[in-house]
């Protein structure tokens, strides 16, 4: 059983998704039971995987027992073990929020959620480029269903834009795969890295074109300039439980960039050594500035949080582009923190929106606020964390990011990160005063119902993850630093994948 551990985070949700469909006729309780059992099993698997990955060597799992260069291999190192655990923890909170009652109204919610998790975990774990495409599609198809379930009117328009944009990105992904396969003759990432490093000079132009197209695809998913325009509208119109899970989807794009451009085109890859990062640093910085301006200018609560998601992805591009173990490590810590805190903000903002009656999530005027001090408190904690103020995880994340900047880049990166943090702080203070401090008493007697206990619990859980990251900042940063060092040393990676032999099948000549 333990040797099959790397495949479990993909298999469990696939199985559970099928089971949920089977028990759908038996009512909502049966679906919830299956979903929670699957979630618990995934959590156990993800924690075990993290512990095993932290021992150092890469885990390679050969699906179907084919050698890695012929078949599909799953690879687990510290980075993707961390991301799988983050995904599962996030999904627990999203499921908890949906179980407050929204899942009754959304058709097939539980099945789609499980399939989306299978896609996310698979995209993180796979070591094969075409398999990455397939898991991207699994994740996206489930996300279309989640985004559109029960939707009407303008949400359909946002949905059409999202679907067309993502199909276009998938087509580009296939074009890039065609070019790279044509040049290298393999789809396994480690094997491809080796062949790119030894590529003859006449192949370099097409390889560079293929990797450039691939970069466009990942940056479109990760919402990097100028490909982020789809995100605010889509995320503002998605249901809260769904959009909380979507905050990890931009991180899939960031992870794919980190993996591909440090393994295939990273250190020791000959003529194409790290070419992408020279582009990603300025793109990340400009995106960060524009996203922070977006946070300042947003006219709705959910729009504000959507721009915060873009800003967090842009910060990650900046830190990863610096390409030192410390900066990548700091970026990974920041990734986990920002995923949890933006998801928490989406949930809190959804609760706040329901307390404001007809005004909803509009920010242009202060209005009545039916709700409680509790919501204000939750918003305050999340805002402090996302703006990077002490004492919460955002502060440690930004501190680690700033401390890891190499001397040559300090002026540029420090100025951008600090200035955008200030802009975020100003924007969130304005939101807080507009919504909470300037709120008027509720006119009339029919106050909106207070938020459900489960919904509060889900938001608190996400904030608690952030607090746990603060309390355990030492071990977490140590782990992230090791992960950064591991992902920047592709040589050991390639060796281990090639050295892994099938267990049952005789090695082919």
């Amino acid at each position: 059983m333990i040797q099959h551990l790397p495949a479990l985070p993909v298999l469990i949700p696939l199985l559970a998704g099928a089971l949920v469909l089977l028990v759908e006729r038996r009512g909502i309780v049966a679906q919830r039971v299956v979903a929670w059992i699957s979630m618990a099993a995934m959590l156990v698997a993800a924690v075990l995987l993290l512990r095993q990955a932290d021992q150092g060597p890469l885990l390679v799992y050969l699906l179907g027992d084919w050698p890695a260069r012929l078949g599909i291999a799953l690879m687990v190192d510290r980075v993707n073990a961390l991301l799988v655990l983050t995904t599962v923890l996030l999904a627990v909170a999203a499921l908890l929020y949906a179980c407050a009652g929204w899942d009754r109204r959304a058709l097939h919610f539980h099945a789609l959620l499980q399939l989306q998790l299978a896609g996310l975990n698979g995209a993180f774990l796979t070591g094969d480029l075409f398999n990455l495409f397939v898991f991207f599609e699994v994740m996206l198809i489930a996300s279309y269903g989640l985004l559109l379930s029960g939707g009407r009117g303008l949400r359909m328009r946002a949905g059409l834009h999202y679907v067309v944009f993502n199909i276009m990105a998938s087509i580009l992904f296939l074009v890039a795969l065609g070019l790279l396969y044509g040049m290298t003759g393999t789809l396994n990432m480690a094997e491809m890295a080796l062949r790119i490093a030894n590529a003859p000079p006449q192949d370099l132009a097409l390889l560079r074109a293929g990797s450039g197209i691939l970069l466009v695809v990942f940056c479109a998913k990760a919402a990097l300039l100028p490909l982020y325009l789809w995100l605010p509208e889509t995320y503002s119109r998605a249901p809260a439980a769904v959009v909380a899970l979507f905050t990890i989807m931009t991180k899939v794009g960031v992870y794919a960039v980190l993996r591909i451009y440090s393994l295939l085109f990273g250190q020791g890859s000959g003529a194409l050594d790290g070419w992408a990062w020279d582009w990603l640093l300025p793109a990340g910085i400009v995106t960060l500035v524009l996203a922070s301006l977006g946070v300042l200018a947003a006219r709705s609560l959910r729009g504000t949080v959507s721009y915060l998601v873009i800003a967090s992805a842009a910060t990650l591009f900046v830190t990863f582009a610096l390409q030192t173990p410390a900066s990548v490590g700091a970026g990974l810590y920041y990734l986990v923190h920002s995923t949890f805190v933006t998801a928490a903000l989406f949930l809190i903002v959804d609760l706040v929106r329901r307390q404001r009656g007809a005004l909803g999530d509009r920010l242009d005027q202060a209005g009545p606020m039916g709700g409680t001090t509790l919501l204000g408190l939750l918003f305050l904690v999340a805002a402090v964390s996302v703006a990077g103020l002490p004492p919460l995880s955002g502060f440690f994340g930004k501190l680690a990011v700033l401390a890891a900047v190499p001397p040559g880049q300090v002026a540029l990166v420090w100025t951008t990160v600090l200035a955008t943090s200030l802009m975020t702080l100003v924007a969130l203070s304005r939101v807080g005063s507009q919504v909470f401090l300037r709120a008027t008493a509720w006119p009339g007697a029919d106050k909106p119902a207070p938020p459900g206990k489960l919904e509060i619990a889900a938001s608190t859980l996400l904030l608690a993850y952030g607090i746990a990251l603060t309390v355990a900042a030492g071990p977490a940063l140590r782990y992230a630093h090791d992960a950064g060092a591991q992902v920047l040393a592709p040589g050991a990676y390639i060796e281990q994948v090639r050295a892994t032999q099938p267990l049952l099948r005789a090695p082919s000549p």
């Binding site: 599609e137 198809i141 359909m156 679907v163 065609g178 396969y181 789809l187």
Partner: protein, 117 residues
């Protein structure tokens, strides 16, 4: 000659696809996506090099050398890509029809140019 024919086909399909994709009606956009996916399928197919009349799997009596066989992997990849593109087109059509029904317009922005937002 065959290379030229295939490259022209890919180029024409891509040009038509991009033109349709940039139009403002959701039906045209979906047609454009379909044409683009055809172009991509041909491109992936050509990544395995063009060969006529060669088997993709090992045959008895034919030496197991690369020159005697064609690459089977791109064909499998194209099959996967076709299935996914087919499903995606269906999803896009459903979403477009629903948007048309709900918002009363086939325009991709769900309102006619000149209408008040």
């Amino acid at each position: 000659m065959m290379e030229l024919a295939l490259a022209t086909a890919i180029g024409v399909l891509t040009a038509g696809g991009v033109y349709l994709l940039l139009r403002s009606r959701s039906f045209d956009v979906i047609l454009g996506l379909t044409l683009l996916s055809y172009a991509t399928n041909l491109l992936i197919f050509s990544a395995g090099r063009l060969a006529v009349g060669k088997p993709p799997v090992l045959l008895d009596g034919l030496p197991a050398e690369l020159g005697n066989y064609t690459d089977p992997l791109p064909q499998a990849l194209v099959l996967t890509a076709i299935v996914i593109a087919f499903a995606m087109t269906a999803v896009a059509i459903v979403v477009a029809m629903r948007s048309n029904a709900d918002n009363g317009s086939d325009h991709v922005d769900a309102r006619e140019p000149g209408d008040a937002p």
